[in-house]
């Protein structure tokens, strides 16, 4: 057997990259720098998916978020006047509400992770690790299989939502169709 790649060292490395990237996203004054920090965070997140033995999700993450959506982000940001946006205040007056919301979310996470009912946590101790060379096929089975496709309906609903968003943006952007 191959030695496992998912060592704690890589987890801490990727987590650090993600946190530093996330902080840079909100603290950089220049929007392009923020976007590049966001790309770094998204790529580190893709690597985390790999560590969770979910290569398909990692590949989709790189392709859609880092390669597709962030290009559109940059495309829009480049058309904004950087000089004017740099003079604007970066943090608005809702910081108090923001801190409360963040604290509540953090508290929720800590509660969920530490709560035990009769000695059992909410998380399973271990889960079945799918072999890497079947991951994509198993996802396809979950989504589309005639017998085992439990997420077929949710998948179709999500695609319908996206279709609504596409048509909506076309209607809003184009005055005369």
């Amino acid at each position: 057997m191959n030695p496992p790649v998912a060592t704690p060292f890589f987890f801490y490395l990727l987590a650090t990259i993600m946190i530093v990237g996330g902080i840079l996203v909100i603290t950089r004054k220049n929007a392009i720098h923020s976007a590049m920090a966001l790309i770094t965070t998204l790529l580190a997140q893709a690597a985390l998916y790999l560590m969770l033995y979910a290569p398909f999700v990692a590949g989709v993450q790189i392709m859609l978020y880092a390669g597709g959506i962030m290009v559109l982000f940059l495309f829009v940001i480049m058309l904004i006047s950087i000089e004017r946006s740099q003079k604007e205040r970066q943090f608005n007056k809702q910081w108090l509400i923001g801190v409360i919301a963040a604290a509540a979310l953090g508290g929720l996470f800590i509660t969920v992770y530490t709560t035990t009912t009769r000695g059992i946590t909410l998380f399973v101790e271990r889960r079945m690790a799918y072999s890497e060379n079947q991951n994509t096929q198993l996802i396809a089975n979950l989504l589309f299989d005639r017998r085992g496709g439990t997420y077929m309906f949710a998948f179709e609903i999500a695609s319908l939502l996206l279709l609504v968003a596409i048509i909506g943006s076309v209607v809003m952007a184009k005055k005369r169709i």
């Binding site: 191959n2 392009i32 989709v60 790189i62 392709m63 597709g68 290009v71 940059l74 495309f75 994509t136």
Partner: protein
Amino acid sequence: MHDLILYIQSYLDSDRTPGAAGNIFWATVYILLVFVGLSVAVICMNWLERKILAHMQVRLGPMRVGPHGLLQPIADAIKLLLKEDIIPAEADAVVFWVAPFIVVLAAFTVFVVVPFGRTHAITDMNIGILFMLGVSSLSVLGIVTAGWASNSHYPLMGALRSSAQMVSYEVAMGLAVVSAIMMSSMNVEGTGTLSMIGIVEAQKAQGEWFIFKFFPLGIIAFGVFAIAMVAETNRAPFDLPEAESELTAGFHTEYSGFRWSLFFLAEYSAMIAVSSIAVTLWLGGWLRPFPNALTGDIWELVFSLFPGITFLFLAGMCFYSTARMPKHPLFKIQTMGLGGFGAALAVIGLILFLPPVRVRVVDIYWFSAKVAGFMYLYIWYRGTFPRYRFDQLMKVGWKVLLPTGLALLILTALVGMRTELWADIQETLHL
């Protein structure tokens, strides 16, 4: 000594890729080999492009540095490395510095999954083709940031054009790829694969290259991909991001010296990368022509002689040119150099005839030969097609290639599922 030979033998006779075997040392060797091979290929492409374009335009091309300009790429490289590396005063220095590295990293990382042979890939991922498309789509980030960081008008225009173009053509490209992946599921279990090696194995098992499968669906999907891949790599006739008559040099106008050469390197290795995707998905990857029709030891032998014959042919061309060199004493060193080059090629060709070498390089040879065909096509396009206007580019991408890709997807699914569909229809009607 004997142990050492056995050790090396165990690597050479391995039936798995270094990544699958989990061998870090062997994987590193492969990575270095791929890196060196790519760099040599880019140098060759540099010379070939200038020569072939020149001959298409009834010129001679580079003739001064070395016999027939053979040393021109090396002279160019030295010139680029010695040139002053300018960062514009108003540029965003950090982003300006990072951008070329993003492009080069994206262009080289995809080669991790390119299958040069049954066992000659650095690794085989279950998401191989997805990885290649995803990582190569990252290179547009480098181009966009390069254009923006230069803080100049032409580069920004080039970057905007590039991002719009690459995002548009990625869609059509993805649809064409999906139709090929669906073809790979035409087996007993009915499960396809995204692995690059798996796709070639599927073509071998099904007995035909996917370009000929479900005629004419395969060849149309290949055509859509072949057009989209030229647009993806910003090459003529889709080279609007660097259209020199309109934007001086597009997104890399402000770059000079080493950084510019990184863009150059990335452009050519991206061309090789997308050509490898096309070869793997539609042209049978490393499979030799007619692997199922012309079987038997004799044909195996004949096809495995091709690498050596190719090199001997090149050597013969060199010797022919040596004989035709001017007899003036000033050309003495050049004549000797060309003769020496021919002799080196001949030696390589003879080594490739040795049975242990022959059987191990034949896969790599067929893969490289197919990719080389695409490289020639790239030069040919550049020599013959006029550049698209921007609205024409968008029209081709969104109004021609995208509907074609969608129709292909549906038709491939219908043809692939025809027996099951027919059974379903019959069942419903008889009930």
